[in-house]
């Protein structure tokens, strides 16, 4: 979280108002765990993000506590306290740079790859995430789907729960940024 704000703070003075960073406060994150016995879905509408067209860098962040939609309140509690440990790691962050030399002034759809550090549960993994970017005027809509292996982020689920929680979680992002 500190890193996220550092980046935002660092980026902020660099932009002139015209091509300043694109920002978003209400992006949607949706995840889906499909285990043999149970399917779990949850989402959050509190994804915050910023993209700086000048150097193609970006920062995304979402509070783990903002996820809703579990199958039961108990599940939500387990998610927050046992797995995500959101008292210790309240945020999920993804910061990095777009690999392609994307022209942010060109309206239209682009498929780009975002390379960055994905921090979940306090464990940072480098990831390349393929994203669909749609630019219309001063708006950028970003959509992406990727998988997260729980083991990559040191999230250990007891053996007995394996049938209920997949070890591989599918994540979807949909956010509109504006400058």
């Amino acid at each position: 979280m500190v890193l996220f704000f550092q980046i935002i703070a660092f980026l902020a003075p660099l932009f002139s108002p015209a091509d300043g960073p694109y920002r978003c406060n209400n992006g949607k994150v949706y995840f889906h765990s499909k285990a043999s016995l149970e399917s779990i879905e949850a989402s959050s509408n509190n994804l915050r993000g910023a993209i700086d067209p000048a150097n193609r860098s970006f920062a995304w962040s979402v509070e783990t506590a903002s996820f809703t939609g579990f199958n039961s309140p108990l599940q939500l509690e387990h998610f927050n306290e046992n797995y995500m440990e959101n008292s210790k790691y309240p945020r999920i962050n993804f910061t990095g740079k777009v690999i392609e030399n994307l022209d942010f002034s060109a309206n239209g759809k682009h498929s780009v790859r975002a390379k960055g550090k994905l921090n979940i549960h306090g464990v940072e993994q480098e990831r390349i995430i393929r994203s669909d970017v749609e630019i219309t005027g001063n708006k950028i809509r970003v959509k992406a789907q990727f998988t997260v292996f729980l083991a990559d982020h040191d999230i250990h689920i007891p053996q007995i729960v394996h049938q209920k929680i997949a070890e591989e979680i599918t994540v979807n992002i949909d956010a509109v940024l504006q400058n």
Binding site: K97, I99, R113, R130
Partner: protein
């Protein structure tokens, strides 16, 4: 030397890159396609649309698949053991369906957008992909990672990749080399090598790994360099590089590198003296661009040139000294410079591979280098000139200062002793011109063509007419017959690195002598000819046998393994072969000097057989997986290959189906077909050879089964046997049971008859009957006669029926009526019989109804006041009911109960419906089946 590879399958495809897979197939990437090549035919690999508009920019084999990188960043793959269907079904649809195709590698992270410039794998199982524009990617643990500028890469434009023995990935950039690794804990590590590390040029355009695992670099301006893996500094460089930018390179052993340039074609770099040799000026590939090079497992060099042409070259043999012709004698000195003696003089190179200059104007026919580095040049008629290493004549030996003849055919020697074979005889003198002149008179004045002093100090002489002579410990010995072959003239004698002596004769072929035994080689052993003009043995022990029209390479470690190389007519002169300090053989040809390189790297020296497809009933099967076929799928066709790019046309095959063929079949065909194979276990074996001899040649084999039909399977036979046994047992068992039953029935019947008889002649019955008779005789003599008639009828019927199993109901009723007549007479109104059978017909056991009536009489009170009424009725369900009103005697008649029990039992035995016995308060009733 460079052969263009063409095929109609290529169309107008422009090649971009080339590689050989582990099974020996050549893969060629093109502007608009991918091909697999066996030396004869190109097979086009189907490409998905993603790849169509792009060019193959990188090829690599990993995990049993060929990975192809494209100029648009796409990556495709195809299994090397895929279903490369043979073109034999004639079914275009099926062939298209099963045609091998490249499939897009689909990963979540997405593939790069920029050209894939190289692909390589490291020992940890990670796949590295270099791009031109996006840096380096690595696929590790099912995740894709990128090495970009922020990770320490010097540039995002990468030209090449190589993996060193420590598992580090070398990436070539415009700003030096990046050594990349992912540490155990997942950290990306990048180390930069630049000019501060001694790189001659920071623009590194290509990388290559040599057989020892060293990394070689090719640069934009400064030639090539070998990097030391420990110090990471170059240990071999090519200063004064004059051939511009390098696009690709490959290294042969520790001897030479082949370098592809962007404007000067292919350059050979000798790693011993750093000499760089381009192709001859008039060569079509001299001033052209090289796109790709590949060294294959036969030691051939594949190259993709400027306009996308694919060439293959046997670079091991090459004319590298075109300046001199009609060489009579050849010497490579300790500085690896060539001395060439020709009719018009003696020529010398100032540096290895350099141009020749004339150092002597005589007709030089023999050359020898002394231990001190002086070169002795024997001439035709003008004696011997001894020259220093600069080619200056130090002194002359001629007839005036002790030479017996001025024509010196050969010079040999070791240490301080020099032997001269002249037209006037053989003599020995001191190497420094001092010492005694010693004439070997025993050899006479006949010609001696060759003198050789071997490492053991023996001196060998090849004579014309007296065979082979050897001087050992001062004793001269002639060898004129070897194992029955007469040796008259010996032309050439050489000592191999292993100490064997090889010598050639005028017409008996070649011999070797290993100090105990001789071995004889003729055309029977595969020699091209027995007209041998000269011999040399290279550093790998290969014997070079020169002829008028080319030369053979004989591998003495293999049986009958000889490979012929044709050369320009005119042949190789007797003395015009020599072996240099690094083991290469040089041969003087009419059109120049040819080199046969003895690479210190193992290459295959046989065509490699492989089974490429198996079809059953004309359908291709996956023979890697399936090797059992039902009895009716027994028409099998094998397709095989013998990859031998050196000379694909000469490959011959020998095959045998173990379990079917008694003998090997030799063929030039690529397939063998076996219709109608009987069930059994088979092994198909195929061998390949390039010279028609099949001793110790490589083999490919595949074992399979044709199963017996189910009726020949052990389980089926067993099942049948079991069923047979069961049936037999069941029959016997049934018969036994029936016999037992029959015996039981018989016994019962006999007993019943006995009992019946016993009861009928029961004195009581007779006594009663007679009493009745007495009463009626007086009153009614007529009735008395009737009575006696009925009595006798009754007894006669009993006698008549007892033997029979069944009688008709009518017969039984007659019997019953006789009996009842007797009873009615006796009891008068006390006994009544009522019969109501309707028209019921059927069979019944004899005396059964009579027995029941008798029982009724026996067990019941009979009086006029309480008459006993016995009714015989027929029932609907096929029973006859006998019933009486129940009025039991107070004192029961003694009874064995045998009668009724026996009746029930007998009906049981014949398996009829059971006899039913019922008793109510009013009636006693027995039902007997009809």
């Amino acid at each position: 030397m460079f052969r263009l590879q063409q095929g109609h399958e290529l169309g107008n495809a422009k090649m971009t890159t080339v590689m050989q897979d582990s099974r020996g197939w050549i893969w060629c990437g093109a502007q608009n396609g991918l091909f697999r090549y066996d030396g004869l035919h190109f097979q086009r690999i189907q490409l998905a649309d993603t790849f169509r508009q792009a060019a193959v920019s990188a090829l690599y084999e990993w995990n049993g698949m060929i990975w192809a990188g494209f100029s648009n960043g796409a990556i495709g793959r195809i299994p090397t053991t895929g279903n490369f269907i043979p073109a034999l079904t004639g079914d275009a649809e099926a062939e298209k369906k099963f045609a091998p195709s490249l499939s897009l590698w689909q990963i979540e992270e997405g593939l790069p957008q920029q050209e894939i410039s190289a692909i390589t794998a490291d020992p940890s199982g990670a796949l590295w992909m270099a791009t031109y524009g996006e840096g380096l990617y690595v696929w590790k643990n099912n995740r894709l990672y990128q090495f970009g500028l922020e990770d320490g890469m010097s540039s995002l434009d990468l030209y090449a990749l190589a993996c060193d023995t420590q598992g580090r990935i070398w990436a070539a950039t415009d700003a030096g080399i990046n050594l990349c690794q992912i540490s155990v804990n997942g950290q990306k590590q990048v180390q930069h090598l630049g000019s501060e590390n001694g790189l001659p040029d920071e623009i590194i355009t290509c990388l290559s790994t040599d057989p020892q695992g060293n990394i070689w670099i090719g640069t934009q301006e400064m030639g090539i360099a070998r990097m030391d893996a420990q110090t990471l500094r170059p240990v071999f460089t090519t200063p004064n590089w004059a051939y511009g930018e390098i696009s690709t390179l490959t290294v042969f052993g520790s001897k030479e590198a082949w370098v592809g340039t962007t404007r000067d074609g292919l350059i050979r770099v000798d790693l011993h003296h750093q000499g760089a040799m381009p192709l001859p000026d008039n060569h079509p590939l001299r001033h052209t661009k090289t796109h790709a090079l590949w060294k294959d497992r036969e030691g051939l060099l594949w190259s993709v040139m400027d306009k996308g042409q694919l060439y293959v070259a046997e670079v091991r043999f090459g004319i590298w000294q075109p300046g001199v012709s009609a060489v009579q004698t050849l010497l490579s000195d300790r500085q690896r410079r060539c001395w060439a003696g020709c009719q018009d003089g003696l020529y010398l190179q100032d540096k290895p591979s350099g141009p020749f200059r004339k150092v002597l104007a005589d007709n030089v026919i023999s050359l020898w280098e002394s231990a001190s580095g002086e070169v002795w040049a024997g001439t035709f008629g003008n004696g011997v000139a001894v020259l220093d290493d600069q080619g200056r004549v130090r002194r002359q030996l001629n007839e005036r200062n002790g030479l017996i003849n001025g024509s010196v055919l050969n010079i040999g020697g070791r240490g301080t002793e020099v032997w001269l074979a002249t037209l006037g005889g053989v003599m020995a003198i001191g190497a420094e011109g001092k010492g005694e002149v010693q004439v070997q008179t025993a050899l006479g004045t006949s010609y001696v063509y060759k003198v050789l002093t071997d490492r053991q100090g023996r001196v060998w002489f090849g004579t014309d007419g007296k065979g082979l002579a050897v001087l050992e410990n001062g004793v001269l010995r002639f060898i004129t017959e070897i194992n029955g072959t007469v040796i008259k003239t010996v032309y050439s004698i050489v000592e191999a690195p292993d100490g064997q002596i090889w010598f050639s004769t005028d017409r008996e072929g070649l011999f070797s002598f290993n100090n105990t035994d001789y071995q004889h080689f003729t055309i029977e052993n595969g020699l091209h000819s027995q007209q041998i003009t000269g011999l040399a043995v290279d550093g790998n022990g290969l014997v070079h046998i020169a002829y008028e029209d080319g030369f053979d390479l004989l591998n003495p470690r293999r049986k009958n393994h000889v490979m012929f190389c044709a050369a320009a007519a005119g042949g190789i002169n007797l003395n015009a072969l020599c072996t240099d300090a690094t083991g290469n053989v040089w041969m003087g040809m009419p059109n120049g000097i040819i080199r046969s390189a003895a690479y210190d790297e193992p290459f295959l020296d046989d065509p490699q057989p492989g089974i490429t497809a198996v079809s059953v009933l004309l359908k291709s099967v996956d023979f890697q997986q399936q090797n059992r076929f039902p009895y009716n799928e027994n028409y099998i066709i094998f397709n095989f290959s013998g990859l031998w790019f050196t000379n694909p046309d000469v490959v011959s095959y020998r095959y045998k189906l173990e379990g079917f063929d008694p003998d090997w079949k030799v063929s030039k065909d690529h397939l063998a077909s076996y219709p109608n194979l009987p069930p059994g276990k088979y092994t198909f074996r195929v061998q390949t050879s390039e010279h028609g001899h099949f001793e110790e040649v490589p083999e490919a084999s595949w074992s399979f089964f044709i199963e017996h039909p189910f009726w020949q399977q052990w389980w089926f036979v067993l099942l049948c046997l079991l069923a047979g046994i069961s049936l037999l047992w069941w029959t016997i068992h049934n018969r036994e049971t029936r016999l037992q039953k029959e015996a039981g029935l018989k016994r019962e019947r006999v007993q019943a008859q006995f009992e019946t008889l016993k009861s009928q002649i029961n004195p009581h019955f007779l006594f009663n009957s007679f009493n009745t008779l007495i009463t009626i005789i007086e009153e009614n003599p007529k009735t008395a006669v009737q009575y006696v008639e009925h009595l006798s009828d009754f007894y006669r019927n009993i006698m008549a029926y007892r033997e029979r199993d069944f009688i008709s109901l009518k017969e039984e009723m007659l019997l019953v009526k006789d009996f009842c007549f007797l009873l009615e007479k006796r009891y008068e109104t006390g006994f009544k019989l009522q019969v109501n059978l309707g028209d019921t017909k059927g069979q019944i056991m004899p005396l059964s109804l009579q027995l029941l009536v008798e029982n009724a009489v026996k067990h019941n009170i009979i009086s006029a006041s309480k008459p006993l009424v016995v009714e015989i009725l027929s029932e609907q369900d096929g029973y006859i009911t006998v019933r009486n009103n129940l009025q039991r005697k107070i004192k029961a008649e003694p009874s064995t109960h045998f009668g009724l029990q026996s009746l029930i039992h007998r009906y049981e035995l014949i398996g009829a419906k059971p006899v039913i016995v019922a008793e109510t308060s009013a009636y006693f009733m027995v039902k007997v089946p009809v």
